[in-house]
């Protein structure tokens, strides 16, 4: 591995919080507001890290462990994710299993931490979280299987290489479907509209936000940062497929990816501005739909 292979990791670690800023800006613009500064997330993190913490008497060490496990897992996962032309720091056959596993671990501990508070709201959020993730998990794996079949590769870095026009020519529909499915997975996993609304603070409607209600101070900072990383990672996967290949020129590709990521953030922002959050009962249909789309893609690869 050379110096370049650290780029995706570094970008992820440094730039991921910026995504929230961009998204919020976009939404603000749509709403005709000035909106919060782009770097708001960084300010928040900094502020939270300097604060003390309040804990519920009900909670135990699980509650405190949750955020840290989540962040650690996110960090390790970040080393597996390629970015555009940059392969990931670590790449090995079926590394996506570890990737998915780490995200799962993150979720597991977020959920138990939420249950640790004994609050009905957080229980509700936890319940929904596991519900939706149980549905996104197969979708994600079918997507992976499709790509693996399409590219004959078994590592994120090689499966999600930028696609050339040729690929679009001979596998266009497959790629399109995969991207759609993956996009839905991304929105669901990161609790964005149309699955979840990170802005409202009406607990009953929320999933991710409500699970972390009781966290405060550094713990909450960890959570926030981990969430940003997760968004970045899945984003990076989607992006890597849509980006055109940049004949090996590092600077060009650097520009491409950083531009691309924020483009993606803008897209998300747009989606959130133009769409409303789906009713909870409809969400499963959306997620199963994602799985179905992915399956169609898979079947296309089978013929």
């Amino acid at each position: 591995m050379n110096a370049l292979s650290f780029i995706p990791l570094l970008l992820a670690l440094i730039l991921s919080p910026l995504l929230f800023g961009v998204i919020n800006r976009t939404k603000a613009l749509f709403a005709g507001r000035r909106g919060q500064p782009l770097l708001q997330t960084y300010y928040d993190l900094w502020k939270l890290l300097r604060k003390g913490a309040v804990y519920s008497r009900t909670t135990t060490w699980i509650f405190r462990a949750g955020p840290m496990v989540g962040l650690a897992a996110a960090w390790v996962a970040a080393t597996l994710v390629p970015l555009g032309n940059f392969p990931a720091l670590i790449a090995f056959p079926a590394d996506f299993l570890l990737f998915a596993g780490l995200l799962g671990l993150m979720r597991f501990f977020t959920v138990v931490a939420a249950l640790d508070t004994g609050s009905s709201f957080e229980g509700m959020g936890a319940s929904r979280e596991v519900f939706f993730s149980a549905l996104t998990e197969p979708a994600l794996f079918v997507v992976l299987a499709t790509l693996a079949r399409q590219t004959g590769q078994l590592s994120l870095s090689t499966m999600f290489e930028p696609v050339s026009g040729a690929d679009w020519l001979h596998g266009g529909p497959v790629l399109a479907l995969v991207i759609i499915a993956l996009m839905i997975v991304l929105l669901a996993e990161n609790a964005r509209i149309p699955v979840d609304d990170p802005n409202t603070h009406l607990e009953l409607t929320m999933i991710h936000e409500v699970m972390v209600l009781d966290h405060s101070g550094p713990d909450f900072a960890f959570i926030l940062y981990a969430a940003a990383l997760k968004l970045w990672m899945l984003g990076a996967l989607v992006l890597s497929m849509v980006l055109p290949s940049s004949g090996g020129n590092p600077w060009l590709s650097l520009a491409l990816v950083s531009g691309g990521m924020f483009g993606l953030a803008v897209v998300i922002g747009v989606i959130e501005s133009v769409m409303a959050r789906l009713r909870l009962l409809v969400v499963p249909q959306l997620l199963i739909g994602a799985g179905a789309v992915a399956t169609v893609a898979l079947i296309l690869t089978l013929r």
């Binding site: 309040v54 079926a94 319940s127 596991v130 078994l154």
Partner: protein, 672 residues
């Protein structure tokens, strides 16, 4: 081998001793447990020797029973299953000492330890036997002993019912095995497993029939859907250390039997030559069974309100996962792809061990909860972590492991199966790819649901506020019960951390099972060991980062104001325990989604009036195959046979008439 013989002799002696000694109970417990532990230690010596590439050991003693021969053999396959058996047996035995203490005085503990020793002995014999008659005897001994253990608390109606269902199921399964063995014996003209393995079954049609017989016969013991009905009944009924033993290792004898059977059906021998290759549909069948058992198993687990019932259904799920591995391996056999064979069988075999570890751990944990609180109703528990920290910690490890999450052992075995499925699914054509891709999607779903189920189990039982009085007087288990849980938890972690090494240890058993060239096996194992090495690196990195974060957090919070308060409840000053989310409400969304599959019955009495006095919601999820398959079938047979009642309705004239008619009909028929 001598070690093993010693071990078995010791078990027999121990059994007799506890039976004769009878009282005082305390010593009986120690005597029984002691003999099991020592026997296991003795037994482990040759097992490890064989697994580490030592030569296969055998002992043949003539046995004065028609067609019987006391023929034991310790080959790697046997050793692979024997290891977890011995380990879990010993640990459960230690646990049992503490667990059974509450019955001291109320009940003579002699019998329970007697049958415990016999059960362990039976399992050892089943794994070692190479003579059909000996195998069957051991198989039945195992069933009988476990039956008496399941019915330990026979004062309770439900326990008696469970015992009945269990014994009936296992015995009917044995009926299929009898036919399987006898047909094979007829074909090969011998009762000797080694001969069977050499000759194999050449006629295809017969092999297919035998395959099906083996699936039903061994599948009943292993708990394939829909032959699993006895599991959710028997495991909750049995004392927890017995549940751990049964669920952890006894049901694996079914898997072992299936593998052994495959070696007779000329399947593994044909991995190289096209001649003895199994037909594709065998692999399809196993993967189908695996998916059904896995998905339905975890769904029903999610629907349960009783902790041990939930765990029992998870055994069905994990047996499903193991079967997926075997199915992948069989597909490999059919296509002669050593990669699929190694990864499939390897993953399945490894999951056998892993499941033994974490399911044993979880059942022991459940036992500790029952022991401490006196209930297993998940919705009556909560906040136990504060009162039972050790149990909670180990249970958490078990929960993460069974959800197949890194860095623990569950992830490793599923990694193998997934990898095999991906490699196969990527490279090959439809006939192979389709089942493998289905496997991928299914296993992913299973994983997600399992995580959901165990966040529920752990979260509701151990976290939050106590939901009932039961918890208030809860107490942590004593060391005899804690130690085994700790050891098992350590096992889960270690296998996770030393995954590549562990995978390497599959070499011997895979060669023995699949008759592949050692080279073929080792290179495929190497091909999976290297990614696992990366996984381990990632794991280590994860742990280091975690440590760093812990230090960071401590540093940050040092000297700052860290206050404690009640959980923020949107304005409720005092959130009562009643307001918490319950297991049922936690699982409700998934349950609603899968209602068609589960057939959950709801009984709702909604709140009425302005000041509702009371409201209630009750959901029960009866086992689908029990309700839809067995009950109707048994009922049908029953009423069909009761048509015969009139035959014996008291009139002597009629009886004489039967005789006369029989005579005349026969005469006319035979002399016509």
């Amino acid at each position: 081998m001598t070690w093993l013989l010693f071990a078995m002799a010791l078990l027999l002696l121990g059994a007799m001793a506890v039976l004769l000694l009878g009282r005082p109970d305390r010593n009986v417990s120690w005597l029984g447990a002691g003999s099991v532990v020592i026997a296991s230690v003795l037994g482990c010596v040759p097992v490890i020797h064989v697994l580490s590439g030592g030569s296969v050991e055998a002992v043949r003693v003539p046995w004065s029973v028609p067609f019987g021969e006391f023929f034991l053999e310790l080959d790697p396959l046997t050793a692979w299953f024997l290891f977890p058996t011995l380990l879990v047996s010993a640990l459960s035995a230690i646990y049992g000492v503490g667990y059974l203490r509450s019955w001291q005085g109320r009940r003579s503990l002699g019998p329970v330890w007697f049958f415990y020793c016999l059960l362990v002995l039976g399992m050892m014999l089943v794994l070692l036997a190479r003579n059909a008659v000996l195998f069957l005897i051991a198989w039945e001994l195992m069933a009988l002993a476990s039956f008496f253990l399941v019915t330990f608390e026979h004062e309770r109606e439900s326990v008696r019912e469970a015992g009945w269902i269990y014994f009936v199921a296992t015995h009917l399964g044995t009926a299929f095995l009898l036919v399987f063995f006898l047909l094979t014996a007829r074909e090969t003209g011998s009762m000797d497993f080694t001969v069977w393995a050499e000759k194999g079954i050449q006629t295809r049609g017969l092999a297919d029939i035998l395959f099906l017989l083996a699936i039903v016969g061994f599948g009943t013991k292993a708990g394939f859907m829909p032959f699993h009905v006895w599991l959710p009944e028997a495991h909750p009924a049995a004392p927890s250390h017995v549940s751990a033993l049964m669920s952890g290792v006894m049901i694996k004898t079914g898997i072992y039997g299936l593998l052994r059977a495959l070696t007779f059906l000329g399947a593994p021998a044909g991995a190289g030559a096209t001649a003895g290759r199994p037909p594709l549909w065998w692999g399809w069948a196993l993967i189908g069974i695996g998916l059904t058992s896995g998905v339905l198993g975890v769904l029903f687990a999610l629907a349960q309100h009783d902790l041990k019932r939930l765990l029992a259904y998870h055994s069905v799920e994990n047996i499903g996962i193991i079967t997926l591995g075997l199915g992948t391996g069989l597909l490999g056999m059919s296509t002669g792809s050593s990669m699929l064979i190694v990864l499939g069988f390897g993953g399945g075999l490894l999951h056998v061990v892993n499941h033994a570890l974490f399911k044993g751990l979880l059942f022991l944990g459940a036992g500790a909860v029952l022991h401490g609180t006196g209930t297993l109703e998940i919705d009556h528990l909560g906040g136990l972590l504060k009162r039972m920290p050790w149990t909670a910690a180990t249970f958490l490890i078990g929960a993460v492991a069974i959800s197949g999450l890194p860095p623990l052992n569950g992830f490793v075995s599923e990694f193998l199966i997934f990898l095999g499925a991906f490699k196969g699914g990527v490279s090959t054509g439809g006939a192979i790819a389709v089942p493998l891709l289905a496997l991928i999607a299914g296993l992913a779903l299973i994983g997600g649901l399992a995580a959901a189920c165990f966040t529920k189990a752990f979260g509701i039982v151990f976290l939050g506020e106590p939901r009932s009085e039961h918890v208030s007087h809860a107490h942590e288990a004593d060391w005899t019960m804690r130690l085994p849980m700790l050891i098992l938890a350590a096992g889960c972690v270690l296998i996770g951390l030393f995954a590549p090494v562990v995978v390497g240890s599959l070499q011997a058993v895979l060669e023995n099972l699949t008759h592949l060239q050692p080279a073929a096996v080792s290179e495929n194992l190497a091909a999976v060991a290297s990614p696992l090495a990366w996984v381990v690196i990632g794991t280590v990195a994860f742990l280091l980062l975690l440590l760093a974060l812990i230090l960071l957090r401590r540093g940050l919070l040092a000297g700052r104001r860290v206050e404690t308060n009640v959980t923020w409840g949107c304005g409720y000053a005092q959130p009562t325990a009643r307001m918490q989310y319950t297991a049922s409400s936690f699982a409700q969304p998934l349950m609603d989604l899968f209602r068609p599959l589960l057939g959950t019955k709801k009984k709702i009495s909604p709140p009425r009036g302005f000041f509702p006095e009371e409201a209630a919601l009750k959901t029960v999820t009866p086992d689908i195959s029990h309700e839809e398959v067995y009950r109707p079938v048994f009922g049908r047979i029953n009423e069909w046979l009761s048509q015969l009642r009139w035959v014996q309705h008291g009139k002597v004239q009629l009886y004489v008439l039967y005789i006369a008619v029989t005579l005349i009909v026969l005469l006319i028929w035979e002399l016509r």
